[in-house]
Symmetry: C2
Subunit: 411 residues, 2 copies
């Protein structure tokens, strides 16, 4: 192993598997977006000039587009700017400064704030609730979704104001919440009247293996269960077109959308409707979006297959790691032998391979088991990815060996 | 007068002079923006793919563009999304939730919050400080800028956290702060260590009469005066290209930009760099921007001249109104006889002409004198504008007459 490590060191690699960024080829595939809205007369539609101020909740056609993709009503959508993260951040911020629709008072006036965080999860979610001083409670993920027994127990505490969810191809494990899990979410009876399910449907159409998997409309399920204002769903085009340069959406009850719009109207006159129109012209509807996603999949699939193949070949049945085989999303999550994740990444770094920092998938950046490692295979070219995975497999084994022997093998 | 009123009523007009929206012709003039970035290879620059995540503070070329326009350094800029209003809102929000760089504590923990509001001013500014519960203190505007004696007095109160400013072509009067006023701002010694000058340079290059008027760089003036973190300057392309679909900027000390970036990094991965690049390609630099502004001026100038001509013809030396002749910006502000603004607008509405609601230019929507009326001539075609101004002049006279006689003339 040490020999293999030294050989890899001589290669002087500089590889990055840290973030879920699409590769250049994926961006090229969708660069028709740049020219799809080239005639100024196309900017006039239904008496609206999308080049001018107005229509805070978004162009009607953009609201219809998102309703089609998410399976809700256009009136239940609010189309935002370049990032759904921004919308999520601002929703939590509004809860903190003003309260949500059903809040007895702004959250900043509460003595204690808690938030449920399925782990491993998305670091940027956790940073939002961290910045507002929430005590973040870890809820273990299972292949069916978050541990719902625990969720149902914790929501009895009125200080618990919400939960972060990535229901389809969860970040980072790539689990899909089962229908039963989704139903149990809709039927939650939290003590806090303003408990909010932050339903980040970031990967709602992001299969890289196989066909599109339909998902339940959480909004109508919550309405049926008698708590229509409990959920806000989020999505964006960041992994459909250009990351950070697309359009985003909040979907929720009409009452929530009206409340949100009132507060958002203090922040903004209107969002970028030219880019909304550009996206609707390019993506058209859900059916056409799924066709475009097939083109992304054609680029992503070989990378994920290669990562999974190497993990299988190098790590199966060695008792040092396990992982789930996702069929969508942007990540593979490897659970290393407890106490070896940080060391694995340190060794990788010495060989020039950067991964998401150990612990990043946990609140406060602390993985109590020091086990979870997120691999983001999308960005590097496949040859580089293979080299990086080679490094990774050597390092995770070395770290396990060191742990087992109780001594440092690599200086 | 009553006869003239009845005749106008028969016209069944439906005209809008309420908001500072560019007209369609202005948008057409800049619609080259839609096609200026049409080749995907143009998205690659200096090792950055502007179609992908990254560079939270903005593309370097976009930061250089704004530094050129505003007369500051690129490192003192942070290029944002579609609206400077959004940045202003979020800055005040950060003050409230986290505190600004030099805040002893977040503003939400303070017992009392006050903000200085030069009046008449911009309603959307006032709504931001209203939503966070600031007590808003009116500072009268003078042709030289806000009454600086009052400002200097009020900033001795540590509860006073900042002031809203539109230094060039103030909204709505179109006054330009004199160099002396700007210097006095830079030399303020507020009691609050986190006092913030919200320097909304919305109309920094927006002359519609005559040549570009240079303005002082408030950032370096504050630095010279020993308080570099006291000012945040804002601008956007909303009235250069497409309102609400352009790019925006914060300019401030490097320390402030670093602090802001840290907090903004929780909200966003990065802003829409494709649109940033599109704008830099189209607007190029300050010199070229000023050429484009000449094209806007060619459309706006006849409208403003007509409005001012009609005011002069109908209202001069009648003792019922006075106004300033702006040479830039988007508004004409008429000070009607005290106690007649609301009635004037009511009469206008009966004739189908909408203006900015009376009081809107004051905090809480209350003009204590009931006098200020904001006219926004940019949006309607010139024939409609003429008809609307005809209505306005009749109504302001009728309202004054009613006031004088103490009786209602129009039912």
């Amino acid at each position: 192993m040490r020999e293999r490590y030294e050989k890899l060191k001589d290669k002087n690699l500089k590889l990055d598997m840290s973030r879920g960024k699409p590769e250049k080829g994926q961006l090229d595939v969708v660069s028709g977006l740049l020219t799809v809205l080239s005639d100024k007369d196309m900017c006039l539609l239904d008496g609206i000039d999308c080049r001018n101020y107005g229509d805070l909740a978004g162009l009607q056609c953009a609201r219809e587009y998102w309703a089609d993709v998410l399976g809700c009503k256009p009136s239940q959508t609010f189309v935002g700017g370049n990032a759904s993260l921004n919308l999520m951040h601002d929703l939590i911020t509004r809860g903190y400064t003003h309260g949500l629709l059903d809040s007895p008072q702004p959250w900043c006036k509460e003595e204690k704030l808690k938030f449920l965080c399925p782990v491993p999860g998305y670091d940027r979610h956790f940073r939002i609730t961290e910045t507002y001083g929430f005590e973040m409670i870890c809820i273990p993920m299972t292949p069916d979704g978050p541990d719902m027994d625990m969720v149902e127990e914790y929501v009895k505490d009125p200080a618990v104001k919400g939960i972060w969810c990535v229901p389809k191809y969860s970040n980072p494990q790539g689990y899909v919440y089962t229908d039963e899990t989704v139903q149990r979410f809709a039927q939650l009876k939290p003590a806090a009247p303003d408990f909010v399910i932050m339903w980040d449907n970031a990967y709602c159409v992001h299969e890289f293996e196989g066909d599109f998997e339909p998902f339940k409309d959480i909004i109508s399920l919550c309405a049926q269960a008698g708590r229509p204002n409990m959920v806000y769903e989020f999505a964006s085009t960041s992994k459909l077109t250009f990351p950070g340069a697309g359009i985003s959406v909040i979907a929720s009850s009409e009452e929530n959308i009206a409340y949100w719009s009132k507060l958002a109207g203090v922040q903004n006159i209107s969002y970028d409707k030219v880019n909304q129109l550009r996206h609707v012209l390019f993506l058209k509807n859900k059916a056409h979006t799924l066709e475009i996603m097939k083109e992304h999949a054609a680029i992503l699939q070989p990378k994920f297959r290669m990562v999974l193949k190497m993990l299988r070949k190098e790590l199966t049945n060695k008792g040092i790691a396990h992982w789930h085989h996702p069929v969508g999303g942007y990540f593979v999550c490897v659970a290393a032998m407890p106490g070896t994740a940080k060391r694995t990444l340190e060794l990788c770094k010495q060989l020039g391979v950067t991964l998401t920092p150990a612990g990043a998938t946990y609140p406060y950046g602390i993985d109590p088991e020091d086990s979870m490692i997120r691999i983001a295979p999308s960005y590097p070219p496949i040859e580089e990815l293979e080299a990086a995975m080679d490094v990774f497999c050597v390092c995770i084994k070395l770290a396990a060996l060191e742990k087992h022997l109780g001594e440092t093998l690599i200086g």
